[in-house]
Structure formats: structure tokens, C-alpha cells
Symmetry: C2
Subunit: 500 residues, 2 copies
């Protein structure tokens, strides 16, 4: 066994050996039984491999086998590899080989791999397929993955595909597509197992044996009444542990966490992770069970949402299409919007400074401290907005404690400003030799820092109230605002202190 | 049934009715059977409730019942409520009531609630308990949650607690605590179900029935040899669907995704979510199975890691202790570190500008455009660093494509700079009437933008190489760097163009 358990810290490699019937696994046996697998794994024992390396090696193996036309070995390797890995590696191959290998997959495996592909890679495949092949593939996708695909495809193509499907599958998909994007209804799957209360445990298990394979998860069964309203839930674990003669109604859990079709997907993620569920049921406005959302879909959504938040905080537009696939010019045009707004806001600093022309001419030294003042202010403000925005996302900041939090931040800003201001006074005196100017700089920093924390804390709260994502109060947003307010404050404080 | 299904978009409320044996649920029956539950739910039908409201109402209900000393109703309510909800609400009560209600929980429920509490709330409870109660509680926690608790407690207290435990539990916990923080070994639990290959399906199911309840998850069983080395995996679904007489060795999956004890928890999360697993096995250096990590723990870790990334990007120090519990002064001292570094860096801008004293005196107008130039540069740089840092976290940016990505970003910076530069030329001319100064400003913006994207893209890559978290290349970090470089560039370009 040792051999095939690669020391790769990222086990993209898989334990694969003929099932030993005794417990003495026999290295040689394994080694020779799958030379083409044992090879790369053997290498990995030497150099401690990274996922990139692993992917690279699988890709090479595939290309070599293709070159040598070792179809049986290819089929075997494809059979052994996990859909997620294949979905990662196949698109890296030349278009023709990509399509060819995909066709070598057995039907069910092909569907799994297809579901794991990036949208762009799915599109490339479909483009090369005949209608029949496309239908074959899309017909057997799980409704939620299919809805996602159709959603991203051009409306015209999507409509054509939808027409190809069998009535049942078409209906299932249209239902999902009927719900708003990013809602529970859109991401759920109608493939769940349901029971009636009067069913006996042994019959329930029988039902699972009968239809289980077709469902997204059999780990939970949902108990419904004649109107399909959700009465309770029972886990496969419960069924296995229960007396076969017991009735579902007696042993089901009556406390069920559920979401509504129009709940936001972030809310779904919060519920699922709060209650440690494998899947969460979705009910419609009439409280009828219409679908479930499984933990693996939620994990993908959490990753997606995180990227969105992080992008917003960096003033990067959220791009539907993957960044690395989109053209430079496209990316630039997307980004320019925010920058333009920030630039135009920042032009105010210019006008303000020009207004203070005379002041500057008499004390040119003042100009030397502008970047430092607005820079520090921006940084302090960003810290605050970051904490508040994240707090709002995690529901740690609510309107109940908003005022308290804001006061805290302003207090913190005052402390930080005073401390840094003190340092700055001495430094700026040393730099240009006038205590008055030094005072002006120090005092300004205190005021600017306090201001920065105030707005950095207040604006996200206001935006939430207005239904805008608070994450737009990004570091760039705050620092630009502080640029304007800071310059204004600085010159006016200077005027007073230097009484000019 | 309708009544108790609250329309609350955040279903902190639970379906709760006596199990109906027919499917005709009877509202009145339900309504009157749990007055104390039906009440709040009924309200929620009126006002569409938020999670905060829901928590608030549960809290009120509890306090009222306490005030009226309705112990039986209290016990019933506590029995019905989910541990996660109780863990959220109980700490909100006055210390004495908090401890009192916790004591009203039945033993197993109490442990579950305790495991769901924030560390600070766990500490408060333990502080008030007698040694025997503490032992009772900690003894029955699951090893991974216990390890987490002991980890955060003061070493002295932790050691004392550890001594109280039974030898078995103590060993399990010490094992986990032996691994580095944030590694698979530290967050795993040794409570998994394992089978031998020769076991028959019916015996395996029997084993699950016997010991299943004690394990973290029974949805996967791990197949091991005499040396406890991982041979394969079999899901509860497989067991239920399989022929009872079949041998585990024949039907187990031989491709197993696993992680090593010293793999980083982020890597574990990536694997679990990539392969859509409910739990992932952890093996030690000898490839022996030592534990599993379940999806729910991973979700919490993903949230934690996200917060860390977002904080770093906002130049906010990662705080072990919850932000809202720590004192203002503490927060300020934590934050001041980064600010100080950035401030000292920024003092360079002052020195640079003072050096150009003469230049400024002859053309004071130049000062007017400093904030705009360095501001825009900072924003463009932040966009780049954000995209790269996130790309690295998602493994979309690798050292394989790093150079390409960097070139892209520089190209994008050049485009953005040229576009914005053009606008700025006309605006700055209009503002101060000299084409030469306007030219200097415009050209500087082009150079600064390109520079910003270059460093915004390069530094995260360098940091990764040095093993530093690239997220420290935050918006504040970049904008401060651009402040210095920008001012320097600007004045030198101005000097050349104005030939002064």
C-alpha cells in the first residue's frame, strides 16, 4: 500500500490498488498492476509535489498515452481518476485531445466531469458536439448544475437546449430558472428523498435502495404531508439505527431548519453552517417543500461570495467571467469606472489647494506634509471600514449595536491620531524648523484620523440601510474621501494656527 | 402546520408540532399544545422577522419563564431549541440566569450547547462551576472541540483540566494538541468508524448501529489494514444500497482523498470543497489513519480564514479575541503597529517635497496635484494587489502563470494611466493655466499608474516566495508605497518638463 499513498501534501493522487481480500497489501502486486499509475506516484515520493505538479503530471501521462494510442490504458486511467481532477486537467489539453478524451469517458462519468468544468470549458465542449451528444449530456446533468449552465449561456442557445430536454427535466430546470439569481430557489435541486409519516423504517430504507442513486443526497429524508408541506426530517443515520418496524412519523425530527425560495444564498450559507447541516430544505411561500441545497454547493457559494467581498474592498469590479480568461482591455474598461469616480472626487483636492495659493506661497513647507496627513488618515479609515464591513457580513455588527461600534471606532481614531500626531509634530519641526507649522501638522492629523474613523464606520452602516453592499466603502473609497476632507481640514487648521 | 412554519426569512424558528400520524396536521392542536412556542411564532407571521428579532424573542421568552419560575415550560423550551440557537441566546442573559439555564439542560444537550459557545462564554461558565461539573462537561466534549478550548485557555488551567479527564479522553486530546496550530492534525477528530476489508456489509451496518451514535459522522466508514493504514472508504449510502452478504473489501472505493496531519487547514478546506466531501480522512507520516475532519468544522474554518484575509487586506491586525469583546485601548495598540510603519514610510514624501523646495516656490501650482496623483496611483495599485492576492489564495495565480499575470497587470495599468492621464491634463490646465504643468501632471499619472500595477502585482508574488502572507500587500500598503514613489516621480518629471 505504501507506494500508492503519495506523500504529496495535496493528495490530488489517489489511493488505488486492487482490493486486497486479506489485509496484507502487496506493493509489487500494486506496482505492476498499474504501471501507468504507479509511475507518477513513485516520482512524487521523491520530490514532495504541489497540486500544480500533480496536475502537470496527470496531463503528461494523458498526452503520452494519447500519443502512443494506448486506448485501454487511457480508459482505465480516466476510469480511476476523480471527476474533479479530470475537470481540472482535461481543459488544459489541446482542443481536439480535450474533446477526444471527454468522449472516452463512460456516460455517467462524463456527466460528472462536465458538471465540474468551468463554464468556458463547458461551452468549448458543447460547441464541438452534435445536437444528439449535447442533449445526451445536458439531459443527465443535475437540475441545479444545468440551470447554472443555461443561465450563463446566451439566451438563444439556452432556449434551444431547453427544447431538447425531456419534458420532466425541462420543467425541473425552468422552475429553478424562474427564481431570482443568488436566491435559494435558483441554487436548489428538486432531487431529494421524501417520506410520508405513516411509512415504516424498513419501507423507507427500501425506498432509498430503490431510488437513492438518482438523488443528490440520501443522508436526509424529508417528511411531507399530502400538500407537500414540510413536517419533519429524518437522517439516514436515524433510519439505520431505528427499529425497522417504527413509523417515520414517530422518529422524525420535528425541528427543521429551512429556507424560503427567495432567501439570499448568503443567508442559506449562514444557516447551513450555523446548524452544521449536510443539506437544507427549501420551501415556497405556501410552505411546500420544493427542493434542497447541499453543503458542497454552499461551499462553492461561500468561496464565490468571499471573492466578491474581497474584490469590492479593493475597488475591483466583480467579474462574472473569470479574470484570467477575459481580455486586458475588457478588464481595464471594467476597472476604469470606479477609478474615474474616485479621480473626479479627488480633483477637489486640487481646487482646494489652488484656493490656498497665497497661503502656500508664504509657507511652501506646508505642502510637504499633505501626502503624509491624507495617507495616514486613509489608512486609519480603511482599518475601520474593513472591520465594520466584515462585522456586518458576519452579523456581528447590527443596527442594535451600530451606535456603540461607531463610538468605539471614533474613540480609537482619536487615540491613534493623538499618538501619531505627537510623533509627527517633532518630525515635521525637525524637517522644516517652524513649531507653528509642526503644530498645524500634528493637530490636523488628530482631526483627520478621528474624521476618518467616523466616516469609515458611518458610511457602511448608511449603505446597508440604503440596501447597497457596504463593501463598496473600500480602502480606496475611504482614502479618496479622506484626501478631500483631509486637505481641506489641514489648510484651514494651518491658516488658523499660522493666522494667515 | 401552517402556523408554526414562520415566514421569517431567517428560520431561527423551528417547525414544531406533535408528530401527526395521519397527514392532516391540526392547527388548533398544535397551537394549544405549545402555547409558549406558538405565541412568538404567531407574532412573526405579522412582522417579517430578522434573526436579531428572533434571538431577541427567544431571550424574552426565557426571561419571562424564569421570572414566573415555570421550570417545566423552561425545560420543554430548552429541549425543543437547537443547541446552536441556545448557544447564541443564553450568553445574552444576566450571568446568574445564564448559568442557571445552562444547568437546566439535559446532560448531552448541555455538552452540545457548550461546544457551540464562543470561547469567552465557555470561560464564563467554567469559572462559575465546581470542579466536578467542569469535568463532567469537558469529559464529554468531542476531542476536537475540547482541544480548541484547552488551546485557548491559560496553560495552567488547561493542564489542570487535562488532568481531570479520563485516561482515554486525555490521550485523545493531548494527541491533537501535539500538532501545530492550523494544521489538519490539530482540527481533526479521532472519532470515526473503521472497517476491515473482510467484514460483510450486514456486520458493518451492525457495527454502525452499535457504536454509531458516539461518532462524529457515520456517513463514511474508513477501511484500514492491521497497521491502521487507509485502504479505502465506504459511505453509509453504499452500505444501505449494497448486498448485505458482500464484503467491504469488494465494494469499498479505493480512490480516497486524504490529507496529512501537518497539512494546513486551508489546504484541507480546498480539498474537501473540491471533492465535495462530508468528511476527509487524516493520515500521519506512516500513512496510518489517525482522524477525520468533518465539513461543518471546515465551514467554520473557511469563515475564519476569510475574516483573516479581509483584515489583512485592510491592514487590520488579526485578533484572536473577538473584536467586540476587546477593550478600545487594546484594539488601538494592536492597530498602531501597521500604521506606524506606514507613517514612517510616508515621512519620506515630506523629505522629498522639502528637497524640491525651490521648484515648488517657483511653481506653487505643482503642489495642487500631489493628492490626486498619488491617490489615483494608490487606487490602481490596490485593484491589482487585490486581484493577485485573491488569485494566489484560490491557486488561480501560480508561479507557472505569474509572469504572464504581472505583464497583464502592467499593461492594464498603462491603459488606465493613459486614459486618466488624458483627462487630468485638460482639467489641470483649466485649473492653473499652464500647459507645461498640465503635461507634467498627465505624464506623471501614466508613469505612476504603471508603476503601481507593477508593484501591486510583484510584491504579493515575492512575499509568497518568502513565505509571508501576500495579503499584507493591502490597499494601505500599496497606497503608502505609491505615495513615496509617486511624489518622487512627479517632481522629477515636472523638473524635466518645466526644465527647472
Amino acid at each position: 500500500m505504501r507506494l500508492s499513498l503519495s506523500p504529496c501534501p495535496n493528495p490530488i493522487f489517489w489511493l488505488s490498488a486492487p482490493a486486497p481480500f486479506s489485509d496484507q497489501a502487496n506493493n509489487n502486486l500494486i506496482y505492476f498492476s498499474f504501471p501507468l499509475l504507479a509511475e507518477p506516484l513513485y516520482h512524487n515520493r521523491e520530490k514532495n509535489c504541489s497540486p500544480e505538479v500533480a496536475v502537470e503530471e496527470l496531463r503528461e501521462t494523458l498526452e503520452n498515452l494519447l500519443a502512443e494510442q494506448r486506448w485501454d490504458d487511457l480508459k482505465l486511467l480516466l476510469k480511476q481518476k476523480n471527476p474533479s481532477d479530470l475537470a481540472e486537467v482535461l481543459p488544459l489539453l489541446p482542443a481536439s485531445e480535450y474533446a477526444l478524451l471527454f468522449r472516452l469517458l463512460e456516460k455517467t462519468k462524463a456527466v460528472e466531469v462536465f458538471e465540474n468544468l468551468e463554464f468556458e470549458d463547458q461551452q468549448r465542449l458543447l460547441a464541438g458536439f452534435r445536437d444528439e451528444q449535447v442533449r445526451e449530456l445536458v439531459e443527465h446533468m443535475s437540475p441545479d448544475d444545468r440551470a447554472e449552465l443555461l443561465d450563463e449561456l446566451p439566451a438563444r442557445v439556452a432556449k434551444r437546449l431547453l427544447k431538447m430536454l425531456s419534458p420532466a427535466e425541462r420543467e425541473a430546470t425552468s422552475l429553478l430558472l424562474g427564481y431570482k439569481e443568488h436566491t435559494a430557489g435558483r441554487i436548489m435541486t428538486p432531487e431529494y428523498i421524501s417520506f410520508k409519516t405513516y411509512l415504516r423504517v424498513k419501507d423507507a430504507l427500501e425506498k432509498i435502495r430503490r431510488i437513492g442513486l438518482a438523488k443528490e443526497t440520501v443522508y436526509y429524508g424529508y417528511v411531507i404531508d399530502e400538500q407537500r408541506r414540510l413536517l419533519g426530517i429524518i437522517s439516514l443515520k436515524d433510519l439505520v439505527l431505528a427499529d425497522p418496524e417504527a413509523r417515520i412519523g414517530d422518529i422524525m425530527h420535528k425541528e427543521v431548519v429551512f429556507v424560503h425560495t427567495d432567501d439570499d444564498q448568503e443567508e442559506v450559507a449562514r444557516q447551513l453552517s450555523k446548524y452544521d447541516l449536510i443539506a437544507i430544505p427549501v420551501v415556497d411561500r405556501e410552505d411546500r417543500l420544493v427542493g434542497i441545497i447541499t453543503h458542497d454547493d454552499i461551499m462553492d457559494i461561500m468561496e464565490e461570495e468571499t471573492t466578491e467581498d474581497i474584490y469590492r474592498l479593493g475597488a475591483v469590479p466583480i467579474q462574472e467571467q473569470s479574470y484570467f480568461r477575459s481580455h486586458m482591455l475588457t478588464v481595464a474598461t471594467r476597472r476604469v469606472g470606479w477609478l474615474l469616480i474616485l479621480l473626479l472626487t479627488n480633483t477637489m483636492t486640487g481646487s482646494i489647494i489652488m484656493k490656498q495659493h497665497s497661503l502656500l506661497e508664504s509657507v511652501v513647507a506646508l505642502a510637504a506634509f499633505v501626502p503624509l496627513l491624507i495617507g495616514s488618515g486613509g489608512n486609519i479609515g480603511s482599518q475601520t471600514s474593513t472591520v465594520i464591513v466584515r462585522g456586518l457580513a458576519l452579523k456581528e455588527v447590527t443596527f442594535a449595536n451600530a451606535l456603540l461600534v461607531l463610538l468605539r471606532e471614533v474613540g480609537i481614531g482619536l487615540m491613534l491620531g493623538s499618538f501619531l500626531g505627537l510623533i509627527v509634530i517633532f518630525w515635521s519641526y525637525w524637517l522644516q524648523g517652524s513649531w507653528l507649522v509642526a503644530m498645524a501638522v500634528g493637530v490636523s492629523l488628530v482631526v483627520i484620523s478621528t474624521m476618518a474613523t467616523f466616516f469609515g464606520g458611518l458610511l457602511p452602516l448608511i449603505f446597508v440601510r440604503l440596501g447597497i453592499d457596504p463593501a463598496v466603502v473600500s480602502a480606496p473609497f475611504i482614502s479618496t474621501m479622506v484626501d478631500v476632507l483631509g486637505v481641506f481640514t489641514y489648510f484651514h487648521i494651518a491658516k488658523i494656527i499660522l493666522n494667515l
